[in-house]
């Protein structure tokens, strides 16, 4: 990277993409080592230790687990390069199928959760930062801290108790009622979108009702991060010279705050969204378990219980890839917005 001066956006993008390759390589290698070398024998583990030796050997040969470890590693890399994430041991399902089917459920949950998080987080964060050290700041921060301290599964449980058992307003598990799930014609796998495409209004309301509690629960917990970071950002921005300059020019305070300070304080929101992707995925695993949401995290836990190392390996790599891709996208957007970032 000798000629760094005057980097164009395209050059930045290429360099950034080139940096992804070693990262993915290290991640994949780590997961492989963790899952293949540590546990000893994944086949007999997945069969529960009761299967006869001949059966174990047969499956081992079939899946290539009898080859030396470095050969397995090289073959696995080759598989990945072709876009094949492997096949589960217990039910012989390609991991890519899991991603397609259960991934849609997770995507739907996390997407709406992110919207809730942004709305709540940005509002409270801006207000708390703007009115620093007043009761508004106090309330906003307290809310931020309490919501951050709230395990997503506990908030979910309380929501189930109150809105599900006590008030009886909203369903507390699954993505939709059984009939809707059985009759839904799928296009995207996102129930709220599919039902709209089908113009099936009852199905739409049904899936929205099922979505409310999990999405709001996950969104609120994620909002805690937004509140904290945006608040600090507003405070930092309000101390900047250009704010002082705007005030000195006689621009009235409201305009300074809304047009000058807030706008700049919100640029990092894109970065925060990127950072919260990993957090959101962790939260999704818990939310899916709490609300019996058939997403990819829920599936991962099922395979963990069945000690299916191949499935776990594949799904973990998918999670890591999602985070890597998200961070690359965020970097691109940031570089596009702020030319100083392109190095």
């Amino acid at each position: 990277m000798a000629s760094n001066k005057g980097t164009s956006l395209r050059k930045y993008a290429l360099v950034r993409l080139a940096l992804v390759v070693p990262m993915v390589f290290v991640v994949v290698t780590m997961v492989f080592l963790l899952m293949r070398v540590a546990p000893g024998d994944p086949i007999s583990a997945s069969l529960g230790g009761h299967a006869p030796q001949s059966e174990i050997d047969r499956i081992k040969t079939e899946l290539g687990y009898d080859k030396p470890i470095y050969q397995q590693y090289v073959e696995y890399l080759g598989q990945l390069a072709r876009g094949d994430l492997g096949t589960t041991i217990t039910d012989r399902r390609p991991v890519t199928d899991i991603v397609r089917e259960n991934g849609a459920a997770t995507l739907e949950l996390t997407f709406y959760a992110m919207i809730v998080a942004i709305i709540v987080g940005v509002t409270f964060g801006l207000l708390a930062g703007r009115y620093r050290d007043t009761w508004i700041d106090g309330t906003g921060r307290l809310f931020g801290i309490v919501i951050y301290a709230m395990p997503v599964f506990f908030l979910g449980l309380m929501a189930q108790l109150f809105f599900g058992s006590y008030l009886g307003w909203l369903p507390t598990s699954d993505r939709a009622s059984p009939i809707v799930q059985a009759t839904m014609e799928t296009h995207t796998g996102l129930y709220t979108v599919d039902s709209l495409i089908n113009r099936d209004w009852p199905a739409f309301t049904d899936s929205v009702k099922h979505l409310v509690l999990p999405a709001v629960t996950l969104g609120l917990v994620t909002a805690g991060i937004f509140i904290r970071l945006i608040r600090v950002n507003v405070i930092r921005t309000m101390k900047d010279d250009y704010i002082e300059a705007a005030r000195a020019r006689g621009i009235d305070e409201r305009s300074v705050v809304y047009h000058h300070a807030f706008r700049n304080a919100l640029v990092p929101v894109i970065t925060i969204v990127g950072l919260t992707v990993a957090l959101l995925l962790s939260g999704a695993v818990l939310t899916e378990t709490t609300f019996n949401w058939p997403g990819i995290g829920h599936t991962l836990l099922t395979y963990l219980q069945n000690r299916d190392y191949a499935a776990v390996q594949g799904i973990i790599i998918v999670f890591a890839l999602v985070v890597v891709i998200a961070s690359v996208i965020i970097d691109f957007v940031n570089a596009y917005i702020d030319p100083r970032i392109r190095y």
Partner: protein, 336 residues
């Protein structure tokens, strides 16, 4: 500019090192306003939990796994009553006792995991940052790769792998959590070390012929270590949440070994459908309260230590009076 104060103290003779520590923590006493409230409120809550944990054998009405007393079996899923202030759960154990003993478990795990992650992360960061080179590049790559995983997944997988070998105890849970936090300490310490390495006082020490280890120990360490207490407190809060999440998913501590709040909340999910609230509410509230306490303490600390956010008692007055004068004087002198 954050560097100057502690830099003076590390250059001071050996006997006055305590002075340096006092000065590093000086801002704590100077904290005012919200930071002060947060700091002391957080410290109070945390201390209360520590006391509960220490006094668990004395104040807990029953053992964490007791389902009978004096030969009489406890009722199952009983609502809070005089005998069981927080009711009983499906296994007929007393919820209050489980909450109290759970405090001990959470704090033990968090303490062990913090000690390991600081013990590994800080030295690695110091050496990697100071010496640089190939080792640094490899370490950064590994740590960044670790940070790529959603932290909970990493913890689950480690706990899952260890549970086969070591069993599901406090150590397993602590190690699973540790793996998540080592990269954080590594990153913070390494980046700070790199910037300190180029400071004139370090260069001076190098010119005087100080060995690298001496420089790291005497000049770099004290400057870098300032960042650790706020980070550690916030991580402790985070670690409680991770442990509870592990317990909730069934990869935490074996229920026969100790009481754990997250596991209890998980058992309560099936009670929720029938409107039973006491089995989940109390352990959940305990998690929230302890995490709030630690977060307040951590945020209070970072707000007092971090110069960007710091507000001292005199500062607002000073700034208000000094700034206009500076503004008038400075530009004229600096005009080319």
């Amino acid at each position: 500019m954050a560097v100057t104060t502690p830099a003076d103290t590390t250059l001071a003779p050996r006997g006055r090192r305590l002075n340096g520590i006092r000065r590093a923590f000086g801002p704590v006493a100077e904290a005012r306003g919200m930071a002060r409230t947060m700091l002391w409120l957080g410290a109070g809550i945390t201390l209360a939990f520590v006391l509960i944990a220490l006094l668990a054998p004395v104040i807990s009405p029953y053992d964490f796994d007791a389902f009978e007393a004096n030969g009489k079996r406890f009722p199952q899923l009983e609502a809070p009553s005089r005998d069981h202030l927080m009711g009983t759960n499906v296994q007929s154990t007393d919820v209050l006792s489980r909450v109290i003993w759970g405090t001990q478990t959470e704090l033990k795990v968090v303490l062990v995991s913090l000690l390991i992650s600081i013990g590994v992360g800080v030295p690695l960061g110091l050496f990697s940052g100071y010496f640089g080179g190939k080792l640094d590049r490899v370490l950064v790559l590994i740590m960044d790769a670790l940070l790529v995983f959603p932290f909970l997944l990493l913890a689950i997988v480690i706990a899952f792998l260890l549970s086969d070998k070591v069993g599901q105890g406090i150590l397993t849970a602590a190690i699973a959590i540790t793996v998540v936090y080592i990269p954080l300490y590594f990153r913070v310490v390494r980046n700070h070390t790199i910037s300190i390495r180029e400071e004139p006082f370090v260069e001076a020490a190098r010119a005087l012929g100080a060995k690298p280890l001496t420089i790291i120990r005497k000049y770099v360490f004290f400057n870098v270590v300032q960042n650790v207490p706020p980070l550690a407190t916030l991580n402790a809060a985070d670690a409680i949440l991770t442990l509870a999440a592990l317990g909730f998913l069934g990869y935490g501590i074996q229920p026969t070994e100790a009481a754990e709040w997250g596991y209890d909340v998980n058992r309560a999910v099936s009670d929720a459908a029938s409107g039973i609230w006491w089995t989940g509410l109390f352990p959940g509230l305990a998690i929230v309260l302890l995490v709030v306490g630690l977060t307040l303490l951590g945020e209070g600390l970072s707000e007092t230590v971090n110069p960007v956010l710091r507000k001292r008692s005199i500062a607002p007055v000073d700034l208000g009076a000094a700034a206009p004068i500076d503004l008038e004087a400075a530009p004229r002198n600096e005009q080319p």
